[in-house]
């Protein structure tokens, strides 16, 4: 519900505490979280999703690969490229399309653009206000204008990179099965290239800055899952690996994981087939792909001395995200320097029946698509597993593990800490900045906050 942050003074029904968090998923939007504490023990930690369902897996039925690319982009306005890329690779894998090396490089470049804008948005505009104590980036700008302007400048560069390759920064239009409808001229990239030098320096300073912000203390290791590629940071390509030994082709996600539909949720939760939660995103990638980070980013990460803490304190994800922001700027610069226009922007292909499945690394973590396709190249069934629905159970596990450390804090502070933990996952833009319903109820503490 919009605009309802009034404090309710409902009397305490039970001798326990209930934390409620408005939150999001599936298509990155609105949802809530319930955390119940009974006698000092966390009795339940659950995400409830009320983002309106949009039925994308059914909307793509009957459509061709090219149409699917346009449709699935609309699942998320913040990471449309992740959706477009995953679908494209899936169909190309099924159709046996060999894309030109220059086209492959352009795709990595496009994905870098998405990392830059999405991570800059989260680090500076959504997450930083938590550390500096403001309700929003606009409020923060009064006291920290240079930081905010730096963030906006980096974000703008990411958007320009996307627009240069795809026409516009939200739902770009050039990605097609087999390549692009149009490939940029070398000269088209000059403007962005010139600004990347400064962006690299700004991102480098960002890593040091966010590493200097003290996070809440937390130590909770979870299984981490990410793509891993032997020669590059795994934006588009790699094998699905984990800290506990999973190693699968990018299309074989369902061999190790499965989805469940949980009551009270418009999102499906994913677990490992043996029923465990796992964590995706910058934390997981930094842990599993540290050796593939751009050397500039690897050096900046080492200088923070936080490589280990990042793995066990999700509040440090802002550091992981800043390191990736730097890595994406540096990778983008190298990709542009090495760019040669492809002879054709798009490889030809013919459809065939079968299963088109792939995974890529969205800014928020591994994104998996699986399409069943008929002889004409029309989709007959689809499964789309976004990172946020995979992270849901990890968030719940983290909340349960983190809650005991905040129960004795003043109410507002406890509320803020829990809210901040969920936001550390970058679950979604729309509600991630305000979603907490904290209700602590019990004898003598009959107050509640919505």
């Amino acid at each position: 519900m919009h605009g309802t942050d009034g404090i309710s003074t409902a009397p305490a029904p039970v001798a326990g505490r209930e934390f409620k968090v408005d939150y999001i998923t599936r298509v990155e939007g609105e949802g809530s979280l319930v955390l119940r504490v009974q006698d000092g023990q966390v009795a339940e930690a659950r995400l409830k999703i009320f983002e309106a369902p949009r039925y994308f897996e059914r909307l793509v039925v009957g459509r061709t690969g090219d149409e699917v690319i346009d449709i699935v982009a609309r699942i998320c306005g913040i990471c449309p490229i992740a959706y477009q890329m995953t679908a494209t690779h899936a169909f190309e894998d099924l159709y046996g399309v060999e894309v030109a090396p220059a086209v492959r490089a352009l795709r990595r470049l496009l994905y870098c653009g998405e990392y830059i804008q999405s991570h800059a948005l989260h680090v500076f505009m959504l997450h930083a206000p938590d550390f500096l104590g403001y309700p929003s980036v606009l409020a923060m700008a009064g006291d920290h204008r240079p930081v905010v302007e730096q963030g906006l400048a980096i974000k703008r560069l990411g958007n320009r990179l996307i627009s240069t390759l795809g026409g516009r920064s939200v739902h770009p239009i050039s990605v097609r099965v087999g390549g692009f409808s149009r490939a940029p001229r070398r000269g088209d990239l000059d403007g962005v290239r010139a600004d990347l030098d400064e962006a690299v320096e700004m991102a480098r300073a960002t890593v040091a800055l966010v590493a200097s912000w003290d996070p809440p203390q937390f130590n909770h290791a979870q299984p981490l899952v990410a793509l891993r590629h032997p020669r590059e940071y795994p934006y588009n390509d790699g094998r699905i690996v984990s800290t506990d030994g999973i190693d699968l082709a990018p299309g074989a996600w369902s061999e190790a994981f499965e989805e469940h539909h949980v009551e009270g949720s418009n999102a499906l939760h994913a677990r490992t087939r043996d029923g465990r939660a796992y964590q995706l995103g910058p934390t997981a990638r930094i842990a599993l792909d540290a050796d593939q980070l751009h050397p500039i980013a690897a050096e900046a990460l080492a200088a923070t001395g936080l490589a280990d803490e990042i793995r066990t304190n999700v509040h440090r994800s802002i550091v992981a995200r800043a390191v990736e922001l730097l890595g994406a700027c540096a990778d983008a610069r190298d990709l542009i320097d090495g760019y040669r226009e492809p002879s054709a922007p798009r490889a030809p292909w013919t459809p065939r029946a079968g299963v088109a499945a792939w995974s890529t690394e969205a800014p928020r973590g591994l994104l998996h698509h699986r399409y069943e396709v008929d002889d004409d190249g029309h989709v007959t069934a689809a499964q789309i597993v976004p990172p946020t629905s995979q992270n849901q159970e990890a968030i719940e596990a983290d909340l349960a593990a983190f809650a005991p450390s905040v129960l004795d804090l003043p109410h507002a502070e406890a509320t803020h800490r829990l809210e901040m933990l969920v936001r550390a996952y970058d679950p979604c833009i729309s509600c991630a900045t305000h979603f907490l319903d904290l209700r602590i109820v019990g004898p003598g503490r009959g107050w509640a906050l919505r």
């Binding site: 009320f50 059914r58 609309r74 306005g77 700008a141 974000k155």
Partner: protein
């Protein structure tokens, strides 16, 4: 931008219904103007970006997203009461969005196709434009909206004049930019002649046909364009799938899609339902 320091700051709200957040993100993407804008507007409700919340009243309320759940249907009526001016932003809010494709199908069957427990999911049988429930004062088109048009809207409301938004087809935008016609030169079907511009003919400039994301231009002759596609050897189903896109639930596009057999992947209504596709004489 002219200075408006003497005026009281306008109370602005930005809210979402069923959507991808891409249109509200366009506001945050006005990076250069964002901080100056924040000085002239008081942004009182923008859960995407701020923990400061307000249930109104608003001088201007921007609404993203279509109405697709019972709660949203109630909420939009309440929000309308709180808003002096209500502006819908994007194809979801103006036309029902890509999710309105479900309107062609049996809702229960659709829901069951995605969710193992459809009973856990609250949604309306149809995803509809905001204007079907409340009065809308202005619309920004696009999936997503254009940053330039958003900037123009914000500047115009801040100085109290009408937004100046050019009304022309994508086709005309191509001509003005001397873009070679993709239909004539490459035989690519393109909705440019019947689609409202605002994107600057983005798709033709990138070598592909327009897929109508800004919605039908007023008085567009979509019927003739569809007939032209059919004459050049396109199957009916291809014509229907092109019109049944991101703004496919809007009047003209919807009737053409219906006349050519409807979008692919429809799950027919379990009971003989009232016609959902609009007039069936759109072919004549």
């Amino acid at each position: 931008m002219p200075t408006v320091a003497a005026r009281p700051r306008l109370r602005v709200g930005i809210v979402k219904m069923a959507s991808c957040d891409g249109c509200q993100l366009t506001l945050l993407d006005l990076e250069d103007e964002l901080l100056p804008l924040a000085e002239r507007f008081e942004i009182v409700e923008f859960p995407e970006a701020s923990s400061v919340r307000s249930a109104g009243p608003y001088d201007v309320l921007l609404v993203e997203g279509s109405i697709s759940t019972p709660d949203q249907a109630t909420e939009i009526v309440e929000l309308r009461k709180q808003a002096k001016r209500l502006v819908t932003i994007g194809a979801c809010a103006n036309h029902g969005g890509i999710q309105a494709l479900r309107n062609w199908s049996d809702h229960d069957a659709f829901r069951a196709a995605v969710y193992a427990h459809p009973e856990y999911v609250a949604s309306l049988a149809q995803s509809v434009p905001v204007s079907e429930l409340v009065t809308v004062d202005a619309e920004l088109n696009g999936c997503p909206i254009s940053p330039d048009q958003l900037r123009e809207l914000l500047v115009s409301v801040s100085v109290g004049r009408r937004p100046q938004i050019r009304e022309e087809s994508v086709c005309l935008a191509c001509k003005r930019r001397s873009v070679v016609c993709v239909m004539v030169s490459q035989g690519i079907p393109c909705l440019g002649p019947v689609t409202q511009s605002g994107c600057g003919a983005l798709c033709p400039r990138f070598g592909r046909g327009c897929y109508g994301c800004y919605g039908p231009k007023e008085q567009a002759n979509a019927v003739s364009l569809a007939r032209a596609f059919a004459w050049t050897g396109r199957q009916d189903a291809e014509v229907a799938r092109l019109f049944a896109g991101f703004t496919g639930w809007s009047g003209t596009f919807r009737s053409v899609a219906a006349a050519y057999g409807g979008p692919p992947g429809v799950i027919p209504y379990a009971v003989p339902a009232e016609p959902k596709g609009g007039p069936d004489d759109a072919r004549d």
